[in-house]
């Protein structure tokens, strides 16, 4: 049943399966296969071979890309996320990452440099004190996690827009890509990077950004899901090529706008 379908001759079935298998965690892989196999009725109706897990995954990713396009059009660059009073802040604020809290990377403040790359005129690396000297803004907004839960936090930092302008970034470029100390990465569209509430966060709830929330700097974007708010950011690239990200490459929707 799983491989009952005919595939175009030029596609290497073995590679396709390997490719799709890479995208799913081990335990879930078989479940995904079994469940799409039960969708035989849908296959019969549409004439598409969706009982074949790799092609189902491919079709779903195509639709996800279409959803990126729809969301980019729905995104209003002037539309602000709701802000809340200090009393609404969720305390304690939940920790969430793809690693346990004890394994959050310890970034050495002295040696920290924010590396700039791509379509940026002044690629001079930034130290933490240099970043801290820039004008800061505070926002109390809701963080919505891809898992469904949400929490209200208080973030203080440099508006990303003003930073990009300061370093002479090409604001007509398509993407800004972020690299994190422990290897995480994510990329966003330029309109979101220029949104007034998109922030290079240096402090949380009035304190220096703690390790669990991304010391020394995280990108806070109240118009995107939490996984698109990278912590421990050490690199920023402005570019025109799509670069995906840690979770995006595994199947989370890239735009993930709110």
């Amino acid at each position: 049943m799983r491989h009952a379908g005919k595939r175009p001759p030029e596609v290497n079935a073995e590679l396709l399966v390997q490719d799709a298998a890479r995208l799913l965690p081990d335990a879930s892989r078989r479940r995904f296969l079994r469940q799409v196999a039960s969708l035989g009725a849908l296959a019969a109706l549409t004439g598409c071979d969706i009982t074949d897990a790799p092609s189902a995954e491919k079709a779903l990713r195509k639709i996800s890309e279409f959803n990126d396009w729809v969301q980019a059009r729905l995104f209003n660059p002037n539309r602000l996320a709701t802000t809340y009073p200090d009393s609404a802040v969720t305390r304690p604020f939940p920790f969430n990452a793809y690693y346990p809290e004890a394994e959050a990377p310890d970034v050495d403040e002295e040696r920290y440099r924010l590396i700039l790359d791509g379509r940026i005129a002044n690629k001079q690396p930034w130290t933490l004190p240099q970043l801290a000297e820039l004008p800061q803004e505070t926002q109390i907004t809701r963080l919505v996690c891809v898992e469904g839960w949400s929490a209200i936090g208080k973030w203080t930092g440099v508006p990303l827009r003003s930073f990009l302008e300061r370093v002479g970034a090409d604001l007509t470029a398509k993407y800004v890509h972020f690299v994190c100390a422990e290897g995480y990465s994510s990329s966003i569209d330029m309109p979101t990077a220029l949104h007034p509430q998109t922030q290079m966060t240096l402090a949380f709830d009035g304190q220096t950004l703690p390790t669990r929330f991304g010391f020394p700097m995280r990108i806070r974007i109240p118009t995107k899901l939490g996984f698109k708010n990278p912590k421990h950011v050490i690199g920023m690239t402005v570019l025109n090529n799509y670069t995906g990200g840690y979770w995006e490459d595994q199947g989370y929707n890239w735009f993930s706008g709110l």
Binding site: R31, L33, Q35, A59, L60, R79, V144, G148, P222, Y252
Partner: protein
């Protein structure tokens, strides 16, 4: 033959279920299957209430798979639902089939239903309980799409989200709209099994 006379008489009146109702019904069945299965997968990533759905009943294998199915299935569910709504309104289907609903009729038909005396002789006319159920699930469908939109875009559609009491409110509404649809589905399928002619009408029209 009695079947042929039956066929001739119902042919004069047109099919019990018009073609567009039958097509949208079965597309909707697939869409609901996708949306509920993937929705349960997403729910399990961070359960709103003190329980989780059995993983074997969920779709997508893990959170990202569930999300991919959910945000693909939504186009099928909404597109098909809009087509049905527009045609149903234009052709007077809802007015003719679902209205009026009188409380006294509902009570009487409900009483008859639980005592097994409710007649299903004429499938082209809905009894008061059916009317209430079909109209109710239609409203649940509208609510689940509206609350889903609020969850998907709580900033871009923040007025809509505010209508549900914000993001967390919309989460609750979305969950309970799902619960009502699933409850409807259980009863709906049980009734179709009890009155197989209704299933035949939804496939072949008569």
């Amino acid at each position: 033959m009695s079947t042929s006379t039956q066929r001739t008489s119902s042919q004069d009146l047109g099919p019990i279920q018009p073609l567009y109702v039958r097509i949208t019904h079965w597309i909707n069945a697939i869409a609901i299957f996708i949306m509920v299965g993937s929705g349960w997968q997403i729910y399990n990533a961070s359960p709103l209430l003190a329980f989780a759905f059995p993983p074997s009943l969920t779709l997508g294998g893990w959170l990202a798979g569930g999300l991919l199915w959910h945000f693909a299935g939504m186009w099928l569910f909404v597109g098909n639902g809009l087509f049905y709504l527009v045609l149903g309104l234009k052709r007077g289907h809802f007015r003719r089939k679902f209205l009026p609903i009188r409380a006294t009729d509902v009570m009487a038909d409900l009483g008859a239903a639980v005592t097994g005396r409710l007649s299903h002789a004429d499938l082209s006319v809905y009894n008061a309980v059916q009317k209430l159920f079909y109209l109710g699930v239609l409203i649940a469908g509208v609510v689940i799409v509206a609350s889903g939109l609020a969850l998907w875009k709580p900033v871009q559609f923040k007025e809509l989200a505010a209508l549900f009491g914000g993001y967390e409110g919309a989460r609750l509404v979305h969950f309970f709209a799902m619960a009502s649809i699933v409850l409807f589905l259980v009863i709906h399928v049980a009734m179709a099994v009890l009155v197989p002619r209704s299933l035949r009408a939804m496939i072949g029209g008569r």
